[in-house]
Symmetry: C2
Subunit: 319 residues, 2 copies
């Protein structure tokens, strides 16, 4: 029920995921508003938490909302994961309140893939769950990010870095400086990862680091800045391509070469975020998710489930 194109695009994307990729999808929402769901099963939920609703109070009040029911389905083993393109805060709150936290986790964090020109993405966390953080929180995010990066992207020994404004150890704000020391104490080898120190914003789209850790305020600003920049530059390119008949013809010739780049860097398509630290898999999709984006999100969620990442997080955080 959530997202700018819900429910039609969400249902369409879910049907493709089921029919073409063999993924077992359970739709949660108002049955009479979902349109033709094909063979998909529907878990009825009478309420919808609006995109701009206050998350905490909505989740507490709207017990028959699609988000709360989806989180309960995961808690109760009726579903292996939940995925939503709706209200991000309410998605997190539903997951946190219904599934609970993994034992030992102080605060769940949003891990978001940042695309690179080639290879696996950089995992950025926290991308917005916790606006104010302590060094202990960042250090825990880093450990969760390393486990996730190994499981999700098969990176053998992920390079974990702290987002800062200079590469030297002393650079950064007070939070980063304190966190740096805490990061040096983590037994990275035992986690199958390594700490490489600070990186800067310009390194997010490079292969310098596999996991980049920051507070949820900075992470969300960085993520949205990047998305805004990509969208602006892509819009400028399309303007240029349409600026004359000659340009249009040349752009047509270039389309096959540009298409993979567009697919990789278009913020609407490059992948869902995951809420790490809750007792189950909770995926956060872009509000603007199209049908194909939702199919893609469901396919990647199914891939993630094969890795047993929640169990790995449980073991790593308990240690």
């Amino acid at each position: 029920m959530g997202g700018d194109n819900a429910p039609s695009a969400i249902v369409a994307g879910a049907r493709v995921a089921a029919e073409e990729h063999g993924i077992n999808v359970l739709l949660v929402g108002r049955p009479d508003e979902l349109g033709d769901v094909g063979d998909l099963e529907v878990l009825p939920a009478s309420e919808v938490i609006a995109m701009d609703a206050e998350p905490g109070s909505s989740v507490r009040r709207m017990k028959d909302s699609s988000l709360v029911r989806a989180a309960e389905a995961v808690r109760d083993g009726k579903a292996s994961a939940m995925i939503s393109a709706g209200n991000t805060g309410a998605t997190m709150a539903s997951a946190l309140l219904r599934m609970g936290r993994i034992k030992g986790v102080s605060r769940p964090a949003i891990a978001t893939p940042i695309p690179r020109l080639a290879g696996t993405p950089t995992v950025l966390l926290d991308a917005g769950a916790n606006a104010d953080c302590t060094p202990e929180m960042l250090e825990q995010f880093a450990r969760m990010g390393a486990i996730f990066c190994r499981d999700r992207y098969g990176v053998d020994k992920p390079k974990v870095a702290l987002l800062s404004i200079g590469e030297e150890a002393g650079k950064g704000n007070a939070l980063v400086k304190e966190t740096y020391s805490a990061m040096e104490q983590v037994p990275w080898g035992a986690l199958g990862a390594e700490f490489i120190g600070n990186v800067e914003g310009r390194d997010l789209m490079t292969d310098d680091a596999d996991v980049v850790v920051t507070d949820g305020f900075t992470g969300n600003v960085a993520l949205k800045t990047l998305e805004g920049g990509m969208k602006t530059l892509i819009a400028g390119l399309f303007d240029a391509f349409g600026s004359s008949p000659e340009a249009e013809a040349a752009a047509g010739d270039l389309a096959p070469a540009l298409e993979p780049l567009y697919r990789r860097f278009n913020p609407d398509t490059y992948g869902s975020a995951v809420l790490l630290g809750v007792n189950g898999v909770c995926m956060i999709s872009h509000g603007s998710s199209s049908g194909p984006a939702m199919t893609n999100a469901l396919v990647t969620t199914a891939e993630l489930l094969e890795t047993d990442v929640v169990e790995h997080l449980r073991t790593a955080i308990a240690e």
Copy 2:
């Protein structure tokens, strides 16, 4: 003497600024290393603060460095502005220690232009001078940014916004929430500006806000994330353009349409930052500044000097 291409590209760019744009340039540095300076005057300085040197101690110790001498030239009225592509921290420290602060300014801030598809850029500050900020600092940055935006870009009534992770007044980290209230108390009308509330990272390249205020940590991360994103996407485009003879031919046809976009969004060329709050004009150029970038920086510095921005800041902050 500073910057990746110094001194040759800097001198070449300065000569073009003087010879083709009539700008009176004073070079500061080691006379025997500057090459052919044409008719440009040289202020000798025997020391060079390296790009990666610790700023504060270098500036205190190296009294005959080009940066310190340049700042003294502004202080003593021998120059109207200083500009450097060298060590940013040392540039700021030189300006701060030799020119001093404008009376009433708590901390100087770096204001950086963020390009948009059309029209004037968005002014982002602080882009890195102060890693840890208070609400009072941000509120003062906002006032300085508004004055600068009016003077530099002729924006009649600049829209001033606070960088956050949600547009509603209550969204953000503790610093932003506290600053929001402080911002509401500023007499924006008297400053010829207006406060429009929060914006998000994705709004930096749009015309939603003319001045966007944040702490120097977040601002620097956002700026470098944007630069990294632009560079990555531009690199991807060049890869695609060279991927086949057909693509190469089509890209050649598109070049005239793409060139203005490239010029506008290439981080190496889109403009220098300015240190607001010191008693004089101090411009901070990209370390990677080429000759044309330096010419452009000198031309825009001359434009800025015509506006008497330092005097306007002095009046506005004293009030």
